[in-house]
Amino acid sequence: MNRALRLLPVILVIWIVGTFAWRLIEPNDPTIRSQLVNRSIPPFQLAAAIPGAAGLKSADLATGKPRLLNLFASWCVPCVGEAPILAELHRRGVEIDGIAIRDTPGGLNAFLQRYGNPYSRIGSDPTSRAQLALGSAGVPETFVIDGKGVMRLQHVGPIYESDIPIILDALEKAR
């Protein structure tokens, strides 16, 4: 056996230990990203979440102008924290559509009355079917959709004030 071959196990061990060490230093990010970023959103058609208001279908999102799609629920506490930020974005002229996940008209009405309603349309997704199709793993979650109905950005978790420039930038780029 020649020398290089005999040292091969040592080299392998060092490489493997290096990989392990990297993972220990760089802890795993458990966020599950949607596979649809930069791809067309899947077709869906959702009934109105509040009787009398407009429902939401995927074609409504491809209007030639970038918009936000916000997945939320009246039972979701972080969504309450996010509401003023959405209101601020709406005030700056951003168009926002919502999908209410596993919600009831009563709960939703109370939520919108208390925290404001920045949504153009709200679709109801009582079984999370559209949510799963979009590749979302929880609420709140927000997508930037461009004018052609292509998903440009996925924002997991509530939008904080510090995220506003990122969202606006993504909307600008999607134009």
């Binding site: 056996m1 005999r6 040292l7 061990v13 392990f20 993972r23 220990l24 230093i25 795993n28």
Partner: protein
């Protein structure tokens, strides 16, 4: 006081292992005759570890809530057996168990080995002491099991309900005996390479250790697989979970080592390769311990996610494995290969066995670590699952199985007899089974069909080495080999049958409705509440019939209070022909209950085979023990 006594014993044991290490270095360099002292130190160190572990059992048995570990993992209302088993159902306690087994292995090596050259044995005890020292440091500095809690907790937090199962009482200790038993093979290999005495005598000394560790690993894996099968309620027996792989990898290495050490003992050949395997086998044990303890791979077993602990074990692993491989690189040249052999001989069979096992080990290793490596290099996330492992390891295992039918029939050095004639009958069985499988079950995968054919051929082939021998005069080792190989065949039969014939039904049913699964008609009679010592449950009653006779099954969904957790308790009816496996889930708003039903023909053979393999190993070990006893009596 009990906890302090345990902690003191641990510190003392650490000090003794340091002393033992230093003395063994002095002895091996020939400066001082310290043979007896090093042995005595190793024995004392092992006993101190055992004492510390006994103290831990005691604080758990008494639910001493002033000990932090007890407060976090136990509860006064828990059944007594789980209070005791809770001692190793957590990170610190299980590491103490690990160290205790390591210490006791060193002690047993010191007490029982009389035939090895003094330099080899003392160098091996030194290596064992070095291992113990590192893991003692880990216990004392990074995971002290005896840390106090001031003020004491009013009540404990309880043990994870998934672990409140009789299997838990045995599964970790069994696996640890296997994992850590391999440390002796590692230390003996290191000692022999240091002393330059790699020969048949070393192989004979190493063999019972490898065999013992391998038996425990086999039984531990078998028990763990059955635990996952009935406790998780997913109906599968192997999930290629990183931690399952972590136990499989040392087993594969130990299986290869078990065969190559036999060649070294009988023929004085494969020296360098055997030393390499001994190092790899224990390295795989340490990798397994690291994977479980650091939690860097997501798994049902990762209950300790702590970067400091992970780094500590990783450091130890890097030091020991690198040192051993460096020693190998330096000394491998001096290991002259022994007796030559012909192409058709038992040696060739074992070399092929070793190559295949090593390749399968590599396949499992790569599959387990590939996601990690890819993410480290490119940042991309992916997961490797059953499709890869089955597709790559499966065919290799089939080839290994075919080889298994031939190898034991060959004689050492050179085979002159027409042995292949003997295999005509098994080959006929296999071909018939394959033909039937292809014609009768077109839906099954190719691998499952090949598995069925292999099992049909292998079951008769495994017992061929016993044919024509006087059963009473046949050595235990030969019996052991034949039974272990038969166990392998039986296990393969179970796996292939499970893959080919299982039928599954997932449905929602109202009380009074019936569901068909396979040949069974299952009536859902209704649900009733049930209660246990620390849980309440919803219990379904299912009446299964197949022609005549009624089997009643009562699967439960259990709600544990401390900590609040919900588990599915599958109800399994075991028959000769297979198992009916039932799980009840939640109810929906319309009064229907989720039911999952499986009919798994012959699935029990998987674990029966595992037990047979272990039993075969035990027989072989008994053969070694008998020979050692006779020699001792003769003296």
């Amino acid at each position: 006081m009990i906890a302090e006594a345990g902690l003191t014993a641990l510190w003392l044991a650490a000090a003794l292992s340091l002393l033992g290490l230093c003395l063994s270095v002095v002895h091996v360099r020939g400066r001082l005759e310290a043979d007896g002292t090093v042995r005595a130190l190793a024995i004392a160190q092992g006993l101190l570890c055992l004492f510390a572990f006994a103290m831990l059992l005691l604080v758990f048995a008494r639910t001493d809530l002033s000990v932090a570990l007890v407060a976090e993992n136990s509860h006064s209302a828990k059944p007594f057996i789980y209070k005791v088993a809770g001692a190793w159902g957590n990170h610190e306690g299980s590491m103490l168990l690990w160290v205790t087994v390591l210490g006791l292995s060193g002690a047993a090596l010191a007490a029982l080995s009389h035939r090895l050259p003094s330099r080899t044995l003392i160098a091996a005890l030194g290596a064992q002491a070095a291992l113990a020292l590192g893991f003692h440091a880990f216990l004392l500095f990074a995971s002290n099991p005896f840390a106090r809690l001031n003020p004491p907790a009013p009540e404990g937090r309880g043990l994870n309900p998934l672990l409140q199962d009789p299997g838990l009482a045995f599964h970790p200790p069994t696996l640890y005996l296997g994992y850590v038993g391999l440390s002796v093979a590692f230390s003996l290999a290191v000692g022999a390479m240091l002393a330059g005495e790699v020969d048949r005598q070393l192989a004979r000394a190493m063999r019972p250790w490898v065999l013992g560790a391998w038996i425990f690993l086999t039984l531990g894996i078998t028990a763990g697989s059955y635990w996952a099968y009935y406790e998780l309620g997913w109906g599968g027996w192997w999930f290629w979970d990183p931690v399952e792989n972590a136990s499989l990898m040392p087993w594969l290495a130990a299986t290869a080592l078990l065969h190559s050490v036999a060649v070294l003992a009988a023929r004085n050949a494969l020296k360098a390769w055997t030393m390499m395997l001994a190092v790899i086998a224990f390295s795989m044990s340490m990798v397994g311990t690291f994977l479980v303890r650091s939690g860097i791979l997501t798994s049902v077993h990762s209950f300790a996610v702590d970067p400091l602990r992970g780094s500590f074990i990783l450091g130890l692993l890097a030091i020991y494995v690198t040192a051993a491989f460096l020693l190998f690189a330096v000394r491998a040249r001096t290991l002259r290969e022994g007796a030559p052999f012909e192409l058709v001989s038992r040696e060739t069979g074992i070399v092929a066995n070793n190559l295949l096992l090593t390749v399968i080990l590599g396949v499992v290793f790569i599959g387990t670590l590939y996601p990690l490596a890819v993410e480290a290099m490119s940042g991309e996330k992916l997961s490797v699952g059953a499709p890869y492992f089955n597709a790559v390891a499966g065919p290799l295992a089939i080839v290994l199985g075919i080889l298994l039918s031939v190898g034991p029939l060959l004689s050492w050095r050179k085979e002159g007899r027409p042995v292949f004639k003997k295999l005509a009958l098994p080959a006929l069985f296999a071909a018939t089974a394959l033909a039937i499988a292809v014609l009768a079950i077109p839906g099954a995968s190719l691998l499952a069909k090949c598995g069925l054919a292999l099992a049909a051929g292998l079951i008769p082939a495994a017992v061929l080495p016993l044919i024509g021998r006087n059963p009473l005069r046949t050595p235990f080792a030969t019996w052991g080999m034949a039974i272990a190989h038969l166990g392998m065949a039986v296990s393969v039969a179970g796996m292939a049958a499970d893959a080919a014939f299982t039928t599954e039904k997932l449905t929602a049913a109202r009380p009074g409705e019936t569901v068909d699964v396979g040949p069974w008609t299952v009536e859902f009679a209704g649900v009733t509440p049930a209660v246990g010592a620390n849980w309440t449950a919803v219990q379904a009653e299912l009446r299964a019939t197949r022609g005549s006779g009624v089997h009643v099954l009562k699967p439960q969904t259990r709600f544990f209070t401390d900590p609040p957790t919900e588990t599915n308790e599958a109800a399994i009816d075991t028959m000769l022909s297979g198992q009916l496996y039932t799980v009840v889930g939640r109810s929906d708003s319309q009064g229907r209950w989720q039911l999952r039903l499986w009919w798994k023909p012959l699935v029990t053979l998987i674990w029966l085979g595992g037990v047979l393999i272990g039993f075969g190993g035990l027989l072989a070990l008994a053969g070694h023990a008998r020979r050692a006893l006779r020699k001792w009596m003769a003296q």
